[in-house]
Amino acid sequence: METALKESYIQKVNRYMGLQREDARISKSYLFVAFVALLLGGILGLLQGLNRAGMLELPYWLNYYQVLTAHGVLLVLVLTAFFTIGYFYAGLSHTLGGLLPKVRKMAWIGFSLKIVGFVFAVIPILLNQASVLYTFYPPMAASPYFYIGLVLIVLGVWMCAFGAFINVAHWRKNNRGQNLPIFSFFATGVFVLLFFGSIPVAIEVFMIIPWAFGWVETINVMLSRTLFWAFGHTLVNIWYLTAVSAWYVIVPKVIGGRRFSDTLTRIVVILLVVMNIPGGFHHQIVDPGISQEVKFLHVFMSLSIAFPSLMTAYAMFSVFERTGRKQGGKGLLGWYKKLPWGDVRFLAPMIAMIAFIVGGAGGIVQSTNQLNQVVHNTMWIVGHFHITVGTSVILTFFGITYWLVPYISNRTLTPKINRLGVIQTFIWTVGMLFMAGSMHYVGLLGAPRRTSYTTYGESATAMGWDPFMILIAIGGVLLIVGVLLQVYAVFHLMFRAPKGKTEFPIAEREEHDTYTPYWTERWGNWIVIMLLLIAMGYVIPIVDFTINAPPGSPPIKTW
């Protein structure tokens, strides 16, 4: 009773005062780090693009692979992880009536662990002691401190995941029989995946550390690579699920509509969570040591993730059409004119969704055995994840900042910054069209990824790729302008914009939406199913790699 009273008091305070200050500070700190990472990672990306096009020679104290390692770590690890946690913690606080003091503390401990871990990882990178790229495949061995840094980052992420679970469990105890608010439902899914998805990489790194220190002589190369991808692909799908949460929950409100069916939304979340981790094997389609039968099973497991995404495609356009028609749009396509194209909070995620049609199609194609053989480790793949993570996910994140940052800073989005956001979105889109488009094409011609500028001894084939590399560099220049505008917008909204109240836009259910069955809340069941699917995908290969392992490899530094 007492807690219930306290809860409703907090909710009331939230309604009138916005987010609690202490909760806001958590999200603000996370977003601050995220956008500093965007700035640094973006600059490094530009250096790479220019080098790859043969337009820029890097100084002797900074080599291409160092830059590439840092670019990967900053953008696909730091920017995304810090944004995701900042965003979901703000939403957990908003929809569950504030964070518990214990959870707040956990979020701060997680923050410190990640920052310390990041410093541990970045110093060896700067000293050129860890130019192993963010996939760090053994037997290339970086300084052991690089891996210790990674362990601390993972521990920091776990801290935040458990914080979220505790807050959700607390809410459920006080609201028995009720469905978790949809935003927190997404958050639960994301943190479940973050926790279970990072277990394989934690195991991998615990195999690597004694080996990197020289306490153990050799390492099982194939096993560590497999554990890495069980994590690596899940990670990008977590960022994708984060973006999807905004598509289902936030965007309908921004355009003045209502959400898609609550039950189906929750089913999409559950499917994305349970089917995700075994998908990682499609990174190993041309690896030795895995039979074609097992690889075929993994094609199936990878492609099945496309199904909930295709459900999402339907849901989104259904919401757009319904909202557009309600606002007077007529005819077959007249509704699209009624959508608020000039509002960056809609425009950015909308372009992100359109990009995902292209990115998703590319993903389906390249997961199949033979087509994967055409594009594996070529620039095509780099194009693919700049469309999916770099556009679908990141543009959605950018779109979120235009309401989330003012919300947590008690400020407002001005028409001027909105216009800046629209221009930023436009520049980002054109930049990515140049960059990711050319990457896809030049990859089909055979240009490898992760390779600094080279003509391979004046090879005519390799020289034929050069025009596309220049297009990539042009894309890179546009994108750095996009980065600067975006970082300016975020820091302006955080510290400079006029004071005022901004809403956390969560769309309402459709009036005649069907009742949501309570079984969707059975996270214990979903986790069991998830573990079964992981076992289905991984038990055979992992047992095989362990029992039939060749003699291991000693650590090697090749840079």
């Binding site: 459900m311 339907y314 389906i364 490898p448 090749t558």
Partner: protein, 153 residues
């Protein structure tokens, strides 16, 4: 769930199944599956282990060749291979140090070559010309220099 959504999802499901069937048919009926060889080797004793103790190109049939090749930072052994047009070449590969990638631009040859594992891939070279062979997995400071050629005459 509305009728249009049912139709959309049925089409989606059908499309994914079509991909599965095409992939399965190519892999198992046409034997076009991805390189997946299962043999292993001691990565620190490659030079003493057959067949890698004698890397090179060997004629094994009517316009059919076997290339036993080691990959190491930052080279291929043997390098600069010459074969007649129309030749079918069976590559047998392994790495002497870190993970490498074996790719021939302009063909579908693309395979991971990892220490401790033997990888095999076959290709028929119908078109004459000079093919660029390169390493497509980052392997160290000289990764961008790791290339050779296959000359089809």
């Amino acid at each position: 769930m509305s009728k249009s959504e049912m139709i959309w999802l049925a089409l989606s499901f059908g499309m994914l199944m079509a991909f599965m069937l095409a992939t399965g048919y190519q892999t198992f009926a046409l034997e076009m599956g991805p390189p997946s060889h299962g043999e292993t080797i001691d990565p620190q004793k490659v030079d003493e282990t057959a067949p890698f103790d004698q890397p090179g190109i060997k004629k094994i049939g009517e316009n059919e060749y076997e290339v036993v090749m080691t990959m190491q930072i930052f080279s291929f052994n043997p390098s600069d291979i010459e074969i007649p047009a129309g030749a079918t070449v069976h590559f047998i590969l392994t790495s002497k140090d870190v993970t490498h990638g074996f790719q021939v631009a302009g063909t579908n040859i693309n395979a991971m070559v990892m220490p401790g594992h033997i990888q095999k891939i076959t290709q028929t070279f119908d078109r004459p010309g000079e093919y660029l062979v390169l390493c497509n997995e980052y392997c160290g400071a000289g990764h961008q220099l790791m290339s050779t050629t296959i000359n089809v005459k």
